[in-house]
Amino acid sequence: MSRPDDTQDYTPGESIEWSEKYRPKTLARIAGNNKPVSDLCAWAKAWKHGMPDKKAVILYGKPGIGKTTAAYALAHDFNWEVIELNASDQRTAAAIQKVAGSASRTAALCGGIRLIVLDEADNIHGNADRGGAQALAKIIKDTSQPILLTANDLYGVSPSIKNLCLPIAFRSMQSRSLIPVLNKICQNEEISCDIDVLQKIAETAHGDVRSAINDLQAVAQGKSKLHVEDVVTSSRDPRDTIFDALKKIFKGKDIKEALNATYNIDETPDDLIQWIDENLPAQYRGADMARGFAMLSRADLFLGRVQLRQNYRMWRYAGAIMSSGVAAAKSREYPGARFMPPSRWRRLRSTRTSRQIRDAVSEKIGLMCYVSQKYARLNVLPFIRILFSNSDYAVPLAARMNLDLDEIAYITGSKKGTKKVKTIHQEAREMAESETSEHIETFGRLGAYREGSEEVAGAVRAEVHMQPQKPRKEPKKEEKEEKKEKKPQTTLFDF
């Protein structure tokens, strides 16, 4: 048995997943991500001197880069007790309340601190976990214990939760910093291997530590020596095979081969057509290109039929037309251009944040004006934008809709950090606070009444039900006023 160091010992050949076995137990042992880890540490240290400003942190980033690991390592380092609530458990309001609610208010038995870990906060599911998000926001507000959330996508987290948390970004790992990690495991498992084997595994993992370790275990287990040829697990990134198929389609002469190449890729026809669509204009010119797109259009029609009728047999025609059809569309050879991944995906990814903000804003407007999210976006949002140019309207509206900085920035079209956005946000918060304190007594009584008459689940439901009432009751009056006030503004459209 070898001992890499004194904090953690491993037995080679033990029957357990390596990604679990080599999960770092302390923050110091987490590879890469130094900045977020030290941020996390700083937040935890603040708990020694009473409650910090943000009682919850949210660790976000791609899968397999150490978020959950960091959570447990943190608890280990600070000697905190851990209470975990993950997506494999039900996370309805009642369930969250039951597990995390009491834990968050009372200290641990020995007087220590308890860390409440809630994995996959971007996956509190609409229907199955009804009310979960609201309950969680309430718990974070009331807690006397630290809460740690993890998420793949910060913008998948409900804004009401996000605003209460300190966000800490975890980054994917460079393959060169992954290699030492893999190398250490190999030494420990008594496996000798060349650096290029580890290189290959590290590159296929695309920054995902866990999948790199899994792949290493998959190829290395039970061996004492590793060669490059042993790395046979499939890449999670299907690029190699798709490039091969694209080559057969755009460069090849045999339409049957073009079709057969599509059988060998691990990609649905829906995705493949995006790849062909992206590369077609760069590969063909003139009439050939037009013919190619005519083919894609037909193929797409069959994809539509699959979608519409769940008739998966239509895939074969879509696949044949998009591959063989595009292959046969060319009348001459073209110089090789590099194949590119669909730019539409890249664009969607880069605009995802702003789309999510847009949707959040539309939802809030919809709630306020009793219209659908779509109607709010198309018809009310442009109008709200005009109102926001006047801070007399902007502040009360921002207060009523509880807009955050991002959302105000989106509506005004200014940058998040500008003074204008900050001022509206600040004044709106002050306004909201003064209003809440006026009504707090009324609502307090209402809550107590319901809690007394129904069981806990019922109380939570009542609470959830109550939430929209809060803005509703008050705004209604103001809305009328506002409509009156809006009149001179609407003439803008009459010009």
């Binding site: 050949g13 029957s15 997943e17 390596w18 990604s19 679990e20 791609k62 899968p63 397999g64 959950t68 993950n86 997506a87 494999s88 458990d89 039900q90 994995d119 996959e120 996956n123 599911h125 793949n152 995902d208 866990r210 999948s211 899994n214 792949d215 275990q217 998959a218 190829v219 287990q221 039970g222 046979v232 697990t233 499939s234 890449s235 999670r236 299907p238 339409i255 049957k256 079709l259 059988y263 691990d266 649905t268 995705d271 083919m295 037909r298 069959f302 039929r305 009728r309 008739n311 047999r313 239509m314 074969r316 025609y317 044949a320 037309i321 063989s324 059809g325 292959a327 046969a328 569309a329």
Partner: protein, 348 residues
């Protein structure tokens, strides 16, 4: 032969099940895809790379979570079951469970069924259990994300093997937890080898063109190949090409080729006669014929590539119309007329 007298694969497999339900029959009535399902990993054919690695997991008595991707009938389930058999021996039944995700695809199945199996300790001296999640790509997004933590949390007592047709339908966090193996279509040689082996064991006398026919029918799907063989064996131990084609409701590839060519060369009457023969005398369905025309057209050398693709488009159109409830005779006639038009040798 009338429609009711058709000896199609489905009728016959139904019969097999009826017989075996009656009880008291010997093992001969066993369905062959089960009887010849590989018992050991070494028997899984046509996936040498993946199988080599899987065998080494068994030797070390440990495995990571696995994900098998690939088309149907290429050995995904067979591999999973073989791993369990080899790892657990007699207790494999208690330590292995199979869930078909397309039957139960919601989040509840993860939160209850899977979790309950995962958290109880393994039976006997096994160190962990295996959950085989077939057609995992049918799980809803919610269910998949609920599965993530379960996979990690119970890793001491349980390993997951997921199978799916396309890995792109499995969310990234799950792929990150698995070693991914792609199972390609089985090569014709591997299919032939296995079919010959089974034919020997069952004392069948199968001709070479019979083997070719099985290969044609199977298209890289071992399950289809074995089913076709067993169905044909119900007719008698001597098996030739015709027996296979008849039993699987498949027209001979040459017949379809002739049908296409005569239409393309402008002889509509002749091709329509051939079509009639397939539909009425041989009892094929319109969908069967459309499917075979689609397969055959790639190999008709007389038709230039662009026309082929246009015709494939038409074939797809007719196929769609037939499944939408249109009359298959009329659609197929119209399809043949398209072939005539495409060939260009007709008199106005």
């Amino acid at each position: 032969m009338t429609a009711t007298g058709r000896r199609t694969l489905k009728n016959i497999t139904d019969n097999i099940f009826t017989y075996s339900r009656c009880g008291g029959f010997s093992i001969k009535q066993e369905i062959w895809i089960e009887k010849y399902r590989p018992k050991r990993l070494a028997d899984v054919v046509g996936q040498d790379n993946a199988i080599g690695r899987l065998i080494s997991y068994v030797h070390t008595r440990n495995l990571p979570h696995l994900m098998f991707t690939g088309p149907p009938g290429v050995g995904k389930t067979a591999s999973a079951v073989s791993i369990a058999r080899e790892l657990f021996g007699d207790t494999w039944h208690s330590n292995f469970t199979e869930l078909n995700a397309s039957d139960e695809r919601g989040i509840d199945v993860v939160r209850h069924k899977i979790k309950n199996f995962a958290r109880t300790s393994p039976v006997g001296d096994a160190e962990f259990k295996i959950i085989f999640l077939d057609e995992a790509d049918a799980l809803t997004g919610d269910a998949q994300s609920a599965l993530r933590r379960t996979m990690e949390r119970y890793t001491r007592t349980c390993r997951f093997i997921l199978s799916c047709n396309y890995s792109s339908r499995i969310i990234e966090p799950i792929q990150s937890r698995c070693a991914v193996y792609r199972f390609g279509p089985i090569t014709d040689e591997a299919v032939v080898k296995r079919v010959r082996y089974i034919a020997d064991c069952e004392h069948l006398d199968i001709t070479d063109d019979g083997i070719d026919a099985v290969k044609y029918v199977a298209r890289g799907d071992m399950r289809k190949a074995i089913n076709a063989l067993q169905a044909a064996a119900m007719l008698g131990t001597a098996i030739d090409r015709d027996a296979i084609y008849q039993i699987t409701a498949t027209a001979r590839p040459e017949e379809i080729g002739k049908l296409i060519l005569s239409a393309y060369n402008g002889d509509f009457a002749e091709s329509r006669k051939k079509l009639d023969d397939l539909l009425t005398r041989q009892g094929l369905s319109g969908e069967d014929v459309v499917g075979q025309i689609y397969r055959a057209i790639f190999d008709v050398e007389e038709i230039p590539d662009r026309k082929k693709v246009d015709l494939i488009d038409k074939i797809g159109e007719m196929d769609f119309r037939i499944t939408e409830g249109a009359n298959e005779r009329i659609q197929l006639d119209a399809l043949l007329a398209w072939f005539v038009l495409s060939g260009g040798t007709y008199n106005d």
